[in-house]
């Protein structure tokens, strides 16, 4: 028997035929078809029971009610909560992307301690002990007032606990970051007295005179403002938008009135001047003016005549007169302040000048007007126990009136003014003007404790980080703010078990207080923050926990309000932009980018248009008349007294000549590949300009030049 090639042929054909007749071919074909339709590396959502939880979004001060869609215990989607008094089912792009913050790459997963230039992980016990030891030493040395604290807001139980800790410890150094809420309170305090705030009835107003307020760009409570603006057409209400740039709000308005940057206050005073001169004011309302109205009228007639105002603002005299007449004769007029989102630098002169318009036409506490109401008071804190050290320390003067002055004083002083600083829900190293100076001030403070959830620019400067749960992992009361007419308190609640070794900021504070012992521990009698919150809000807890919110007041305040215009009657000077260049750089607030303590989500950054951020390059807006020699979408070098940077240029007529607009909210530098290192932070390029009469940073922009790169 000889094995030849035919044998091999037989073997081969036999093998092929055998395989072909066996089910192997059929089965492998089927399996590969299934495999290609279900790539194993494609994530498949886990199946489970669909359920919804009511909570409140805390990403911005808007306080929108949210409904979190969950599959079993895993939140998968955020939607607006239907019938919520603030947003009635609506949600903004930041809110719907809120879940991305849970899994943010910059999240701090465990307490950290600075060791040289790096952080090292420590246990909660060690972290609390370390903080308590530093603070105890300060009290032993008799200088408790050297402990300072910066948070995002005055209202709410967590800020309340920070204030309480400072008070029982013995320090008056509690600061909040600039926000629309703070400006509303400052304005109300200057014109109507302390403990009050202002709201604007945009839903009903028939004529809205907006001094740059980005009503559809994130000003106030964004979703509520979108809805009010959307109903404008059916209500036949008008919107006049005064700002240097054709923003979305301006484009949506009945009229856009371009005004030279920084001259909004002058325009408001010019309009007041016309109203007073032409007897267009409401005589009942002016009876509420307590003195100084005549003095103000005299100042206005002298310095804010039509011609002078027109020269300062760039608005034609006829237009000023027309606006004044339309505003005063409108059935329900309201003048709105707060440029952009309303949380940037503002001067009290501008705030007061705009609000004086409301006072003059008599729309205070009237439908469609401006409501002056008492500050949100729903928390019932027990008395604070204070020993003599605390009393002495607490009685001392604050380093600065506002947070900008605080940093300036810390920088200026040769001594160690502040020895320890608590920072919660604030990112001053990113959001305040002249970030280098802020970092320098922080460098001078020997012990910084951050309660941040994310390792952001400011948390990087901390010595100890006691990381907080995100708003989806904790309970917290969220008072409505942002100029909302209704006074509502929402309850943010955990919709997922904490992902990392973090704590509610309230719990961290309770632990610190207990470790400090004595009166301080006595002032924090609660075992947990959740129990504390329940007891502080006992009056409204049932409705908070069941509905997710409690409405404290729905209607307008009935009482008339005294008006004090003495601040304006002193004729405070208008501030100039810093520097000697020809152009003015101003910030632009864009709805798609967040620029406060919380950075934008990866989703939000992806939605930004190419005319704002192209790749990693920021695009500035400039008028064709100003952009001589520059190529549209080409590179340019932007120079301000604070430094220079490379930008791309978007040449369009929506920006006034002589002005360069740069978006806020870009240029983060912390470790988050989706959000950081895109564009530049405009606050690196603008320095602060403190308004002498108020102490506020009122830098509306800075002088700049731009040239071809």
């Amino acid at each position: 028997m000889k094995v030849d090639r035919r044998s091999f042929l037989g073997l081969g054909i036999g093998a092929v035929a055998g395989i072909a007749v066996s089910p192997m071919g059929m089965k492998l074909t089927d399996d590969s078809a299934i495999w290609t339709q279900n790539w194993p590396w494609t994530p498949v959502p886990v199946d489970g029971k669909v359920n919804y939880e009511k909570s409140v979004c805390s990403l911005c001060p808007g306080s929108c009610g949210i409904s979190v869609r969950k599959i079993d215990n895993r939140p998968v989607k955020i939607e607006g909560l239907a019938d919520h008094p603030v947003n009635d089912g609506g949600a903004c792009l930041h809110g719907i992307a809120g879940l991305q913050y849970l899994y943010d790459p910059a999240r701090i997963k465990t307490p950290l301690k600075k060791n040289g230039a790096n952080f090292e992980k420590i246990s909660w016990n060690d972290a609390i002990e370390l903080v308590a030891e530093k603070l105890s030493n300060m009290r032993e040395k008799g200088s408790p007032e050297k402990l300072a604290c910066i948070t995002d807001k005055e209202q709410g139980s967590v800020s309340g606990l920070f204030k309480r800790l400072l008070k029982t410890f013995g320090s008056p150094e509690f600061y909040t970051m600039p926000s629309l809420e703070s400006y509303l309170e400052i304005t109300a305090s200057a014109l109507h007295g302390k403990g009050k705030t202002i709201a604007f009835d945009l839903e009903n107003a028939s004529f809205v005179l907006s001094f740059g307020a980005g009503i559809i760009e994130g000003w106030g409570s964004p979703v509520s403002c979108f809805k009010a603006n959307a109903s404008r057409k059916t209500r036949h209400a008008q919107l006049y938008q005064i700002e240097p740039r054709l923003s979305n709000t301006a484009a949506n308005a009945d009229r856009w009135i371009p005004v030279k940057p920084g001259s909004e206050a002058d325009l408001a005073l010019g309009i007041s001047s016309v109203i007073l001169k032409n007897n267009l004011f409401d005589s009942n309302a002016t009876s509420n003016f307590k003195g100084d109205l005549n003095k103000l009228a005299a100042v206005l007639q002298k310095d804010y005549s039509l011609a002078k105002t027109a020269k300062i603002t760039g608005v034609k005299p006829d237009d000023i007169k027309k606006i004044a007449t339309l505003f005063a004769k409108a059935e329900m007029p309201v003048a709105v302040f707060g440029k952009g989102r309303g949380d940037g630098a503002q001067s009290l002169k501008e705030l007061a000048a705009v609000h004086t318009l409301n006072c003059l036409v008599g729309n205070i506490n009237k439908k469609g007007g401006a409501f002056v109401k008492p500050n949100n008071q729903y928390l019932e804190f027990p008395d604070v126990a204070m020993d003599s050290i605390a009393k002495t320390g607490f009685g001392k003067n604050k380093t600065g009136k506002y947070v900008n002055q605080f940093f300036e004083e810390v920088n200026r002083s040769s001594q160690s003014l502040i020895e320890a600083l608590f920072i919660y829900n604030a990112n001053p190293c990113y959001t305040l003007h002249d970030t280098k100076k802020i970092k320098k001030a922080l460098d001078k403070i020997p012990f910084i404790v951050s309660f941040s959830s994310f390792l952001d620019e400011t948390a990087m400067e901390a010595d100890v980080i006691l990381p907080s749960h995100t708003f989806m992992e904790r309970f917290e009361d969220v008072p409505s703010s942002g100029g909302l007419v209704k006074t509502v308190v929402g309850l943010t609640r955990p919709v997922i078990r904490p992902l990392f070794n973090t704590k509610t900021p309230g719990d961290s504070l309770i632990l610190i207080a207990k470790a400090l012992k004595g009166n301080i521990a006595k002032s924090f009698p609660w075992t947990t923050y959740d129990k504390c919150l329940e007891s502080l809000t006992s009056r409204i807890w049932n409705s908070l926990s069941e509905d997710g919110f409690a409405v404290l007041s729905n209607g307008m305040p009935g009482d008339s309000q005294p008006v004090d215009v003495s601040f304006l009657a002193k004729n405070p000077a208008s501030l100039k932009a810093q520097g000697n260049y020809d152009l003015t750089l101003i910030p632009i607030d864009n709805m798609r980018l967040m620029s406060a303590a919380t950075a934008s989500s990866p989703f939000a950054v992806k939605t930004v248009s190419d005319s704002v951020l192209k790749g990693k390059d920021i695009v500035v807006e400039i008028n064709p008349l100003t952009a001589k020699g520059l190529k549209n979408r080409g590179f340019a070098v932007l120079t301000t007294p604070m430094g220079k940077t490379r930008v791309k240029v978007n040449i369009n007529e929506g920006m006034m000549p002589g002005v360069i607009g740069m978006v806020t909210g870009l240029g983060h530098t912390f470790d988050n590949k989706y959000v950081s290192n895109k564009g530049v932070n405009i606050n690196d390029l603008i320095g602060q300009v403190i308004e002498p009469d108020s102490g506020l940073d009122a830098a509306f922009g800075i002088k700049a030049s731009i040239s071809k790169a």
Partner: protein
Amino acid sequence: MSEIENKAENGSTESAGEGSAGEAKDDKGLGLGIIFFIIAFVACFLSGTLLFPKLLYSKKEQPFNFDHALHVSEAGDCETCHSLREDGSFTGIPKLATCLDCHYEDVLGETEDEATFVEEYVSKEKEVPWHVYSRQPDSVFFSHAAHTEAGGMDCVSCHGNIGESTSSRPYEENRITGYSRDIWGKNIFGIKKHSWDRMKMDDCAKCHKKETGHQGYCFQCHK
């Protein structure tokens, strides 16, 4: 001269003149070829039928043995544990919380499996990572409610008599697709005796055709 050259030469000689001798050789070679063909055919057919499934599927044991028969007798019918939610979606394999409705105290029975369940999962509040015999690929949408509630089908039609089993058989996972062997069926030829022997698309279509008069459209299941 090398062997190859020799062969080449012989070959050319064969083709030139030794016709009859060549034929005799051919027959012999053909016979051998057929034998080789048969051997290879049988070997490959058998390995494609018997060995291939062993290679294609990997056997995995369930986390611990589950006695369906015992649970049915104690708890009632299938729906007690495998229920429909209010929105009509199917709960599938019950979550730990459902088990705890009965297993809320220590070990109820005396089996080793239940001890494992309590120690490893109940006390650690960990979901049991069951292997699901009947999990369909994710490219398929399937509503239990439409079949059991609206169609009035019973569980056995598709799932067989699993409720009578006293132990968990090993789960066989397809190494290529990652899905259970139960979808194709135990028989590698795809031959089935009972309605629950296979859960392929053709089986769905066949039943739909029989019950509704139409086999259905693609998008009804492949959304």
